[in-house]
Structures are given as C-alpha cells and as structure tokens.
C-alpha cells in the first residue's frame, strides 16, 4: 500500500515508526506512569474506610518518629556521599596516573569486581566481618587489644560501611573515566608555567574534574537514600531510615496509603536534591 517512491526512508506519516516505538512507550505508560498515578491516589485515601484525606502526609510532619527517619536518612546519605568521594578520588587518581597504561583496565576491573555481587549477599558479607564474633572482633580480642567484643553490627556505622563499600567502587569508575578524559596538555601547560605536582593538582586537575565528581556524588545520593537492603541488614531496627519505614508500613500493617505518601515524600526530597545539583552544575559551567 506504500506508494513506491524514490525516498528510501518512509515518511513520518506511515504507520511503521509508531509501530516500532509504541510497545516501549506503552510499557512505560502502563507499568511506570500509571502505577505512579495509582500511588498518588492511594496516598490521598484513608487506610480505614478509603475516603479522601491528607492525613497520610500530615502524619509525616506530626509524628516525630517518621520525621526522625528522614533526618537519619539524610544524615547517613550525606556522610556516605562525602566519605565515599574522599576515599574514591585518590584511588581513581592512582589508577589513572600511577598504574602503567597496560595494567589499568585489569586494575580497574579488579577494583569493581565485588560491585557485581548480589546486593543482598554483599551486605550479608559485611555482617560476617562486623558481627559480635565476626572477623574483626575475633582479630581484636585474639590479639589482646580488647577484652570485650565491640558492638559493630546493627549500628549506623555498619550501615555506613556497607554503603561506602558499594559507592567507593561506583565512584572509582566514574572519577577514573573523568580523569582519563582530561587532555595531558593541561598538565604540560601547568608544568611549563612552573607549577609543581601539588599545585597542578589543586589548581588544574581538581577543578576540571569537579563537575564529574558532582554527578557521581548525586548518583550516590539517589541510590543511597532509596536503598532498603543495606540499612535493614547492617543497620538493624534500632534506627530506621526512610526506606525501612516505607517497607514497615507494608509488611506489618498493610498500610498502602501511608507507604505511598512516604514514598512520594522521599521522591520529592530526591527531586529537590536533583534540581539543586543541576543548578549548581549550570553555575559551575557558566
């Protein structure tokens, strides 16, 4: 039925392009956008009775334990992001600058190998290390440094350690890529103008890689604040983070409306962080 023309690319009016893109768009609308709308509606209904209410949102602001979960989440995420960047940057720099070129690919692949273990298993592995009778406590008591085992598991420190482990690998990847993209002529120019290695780093390399660091830090922030597994396995239930609070509403009480409202609040916080980050990056580039 197509009129045979010379044009080898069919016109936009034909049905074919739409036949190609509709399945993917339909899937996204049906299983991503629609669920989000359903969650929005759910968050505005009462758990008992189902009438319209704003109480799921107001509870968040009036119930101090809900509020506290958000504060905990923001604190842990901030600590994890800063520590991960500080650990990963020098490591990525060493891989990019000190390791001979032909070993770099292997060194990088090794550095991120545990990144690919299952998330649940990785958190469990840290439990083995940090438990009451785990590797660290056994080593410390065995060497006589301490007599009583330290409480390492089920603490904020344990959750943060598990997170930092994951994000150091992620950030090493992104910062390494960033450093490799820098042209060597920057370094040569700085050296020709008389700057030593330290000054070159502080005034040339670091500022040039800062936008990349910000992108990595933002990624860390988003993934960290939305994660349920690490805080649940390593942090325990002494101190709740937002994802744990959300899951608790579903698991214990089947309270979908409240869980929906808390999820939407969490997403709103991430969106604000995204906008702030995007704005900062724009200022930086201008």
């Amino acid at each position: 039925m197509n009129s045979a023309g010379n044009n080898s690319v069919p016109r936009a009016g034909s049905a074919l392009p739409w036949a190609l893109v509709t399945p993917a768009l339909g899937w996204t609308l049906l299983f991503f956008v629609l669920p989000f709308i359903a969650m929005g509606f759910s968050s505005l209904t009462a758990h008992e009775g189902g009438g319209f209410t704003l109480s799921n949102y107001s509870q968040f602001f009036t119930n101090p334990s809900y509020w506290q979960a958000m504060v905990n989440s923001l604190e842990v995420t901030a600590i994890v992001t800063v520590v991960s960047v500080l650990l990963a940057y020098p490591f990525a720099w060493i891989l990019a600058e000190q390791v001979p070129e032909r070993w770099q690919r292997l060194a990088l692949m090794l550095a991120v190998l545990p990144f690919w273990t299952s998330y649940v298993v990785r958190s469990y592995s840290w439990l083995l290390v940090l438990a009451q009778n785990g590797v660290i406590n056994r080593a410390l008591t065995g060497s006589g440094l301490i007599t009583e085992p330290l409480q390492l598991a089920n603490t904020r420190l344990a959750a943060a350690t598990g997170f930092v482990h994951f994000f150091v690998m992620l950030l090493t990847l992104t910062i390494f890529a960033n450093l490799k993209q820098l042209s060597p002529s920057y370094r040569k120019a700085a050296a020709d103008l008389g700057a030593g290695p330290v000054r070159t780093f502080l005034h040339v390399i670091l500022p040039l890689t800062l936008p990349g660091i910000m992108v990595g830090a933002f990624l860390t922030f988003v993934l960290c604040i939305g994660d349920y597994i690490t805080p649940q396995i390593l942090g325990g239930n002494n101190e709740l983070l937002m994802p744990q609070l959300v899951m608790m509403q579903i698991g214990r009480r089947g309270d979908f409306p409240l869980a929906s409202a808390l999820s939407i609040i969490l997403m709103a916080v991430v969106t604000v962080a995204y906008l702030a980050c995007a704005r900062w990056l724009k200022i930086e580039r201008a």
């Binding site: 629609l34 669920p35 359903a38 299952s118």
Partner: protein, 260 residues
Amino acid sequence: MRRIIRVASWLYALAVYGFIFLPVVVLVLFSLQATSFPIPPFTGPSLRWYDAVLSDVRLTSALVNSLLVASISSATAVTLGFLSAWGFARFVLPGSGLLRGLITLPLTVSYLIIGMGLLVLFNWAGVPKSLLAAGIGHVVINLPLCFAIIYSQMGDHQINIERAARDLGASEWKVLLLITVPVMAPAIFAGFFLSMTFSWDEFVISFLLTRFDTTLPVEIWNLLRSGLNPKTNAVGSLVFAVSIVLVVLFELTLLRRRKT
C-alpha cells in the same frame, strides 16, 4: 617527592583493595567452613554447605526462577528497547525528544518506589503477586537502559547500509531482521547482559511483587533470618560466580565491539 607519592600511592591503593575485597574473601572462605558457623577459626575446607545448597529444593527452584525471570524480562526489555531505538533513530517523529525522555525516565527513580507503585496498582487491579508481576517490574527498570545503550550506538554508518538494502528492494521488516539486527548485535548483547545482571541481582521489586514462588535474592533474604550460616555463604558465593560470568561475557562483547 615523586618517590614519596609513589610509595604512598601503593600503600593507599593496597588499603582500598583490601577494603573492597575483605567481605568477599570472608564470604567465600567461610563458605568452605566444615562446622556450622561461618566465623573464625576456619575449619575447612569442605564442600558440605555447597551440597546443602544444591539439595535444598527451595533454593534450587528459586535459582531456576531467577534465571527464568532474568532471561525473559531481559529479552523483552531488549526487544522493546531495540525497536523503539530504531524507530526514534531512523524516523522523524513529532515530540521525539519528549517521548525519548519518557522512556528513560524510570532510570531516575529508585527501585523501591517503582516496586511500590506496581504493588499499589496490581493490588488495586486485582493482579495476584507472582513471578510474572516481578518480571514486569524488571522490564520497567531495564527497558530504559537497553534503549539508551542501543540508541546511542545507532549512527549514520548503519543508515547507509540500510538505505542500500532498501534501494535493492528489501522490505522494511527484511531490513530490520537481516541488516539492522546483525549490525547492532554488540549493542543488543550489551543491553541484554547488563539487563540480565540487574534482574539477577534485583531484590526489592521481587520482594514486593512475589509471594510463594520467588527469586533467589528474596530466598537468600529469607535465609538471613536464621542468622549467620555457612549455607548462606555458599549460595552467596555461587551467586557471585554467576554474576562474574555475566560480567565477563559483557566485557567480551564490549571488547569485540571496539575491535570492529
């Protein structure tokens, strides 16, 4: 000065490698433990816990479920991703930028929230919890990834080959199957393997959307209730091994692409 930097670099890199590998080494080492607790002192090596894993029907069926969900959802994601990438790259569509944005949007939302949304929707629509429901969620998270990878690899070079095929009289579907798919094979494989690893590892969506038949990460999660257990170490080490195989396959397809 240079010498000091060199030595400090080596020490620092070793310390970070140590930190990165410490939990993995502990996991694998104590999966070979002979006694019932995966804590020092090491009493192995013994394969007893691997035996226990492989004879545990719940774990082996969860493993089969995981492979099934991962391969089917990845195949679906890569098919939808490829078709839409081809559509957007080859034809001028109204609102193209916006629609492409829509397809990649799920990348910016955490898995927990995607899973929550589907749970609320399915609950409301009366769709029961099942592996199918979890698989649908896995397509949601992997479709944008496959789309982005394949779309970024569609260049002018391929357009010319396709144009030649059309001028020689091939129909659109023939061009798609005989020209575009083979030319794009590395990107398609990359999307597929990456989706496989993500689906294979995914926990929260499967946890929310399945009930009795479930995937391996959820079954491992259930094992954690019994505390530290060498059996968990053994199944964890096996999962790690599968992930490594997937990653190596992924690396190889990437390398092959670079050479061609």
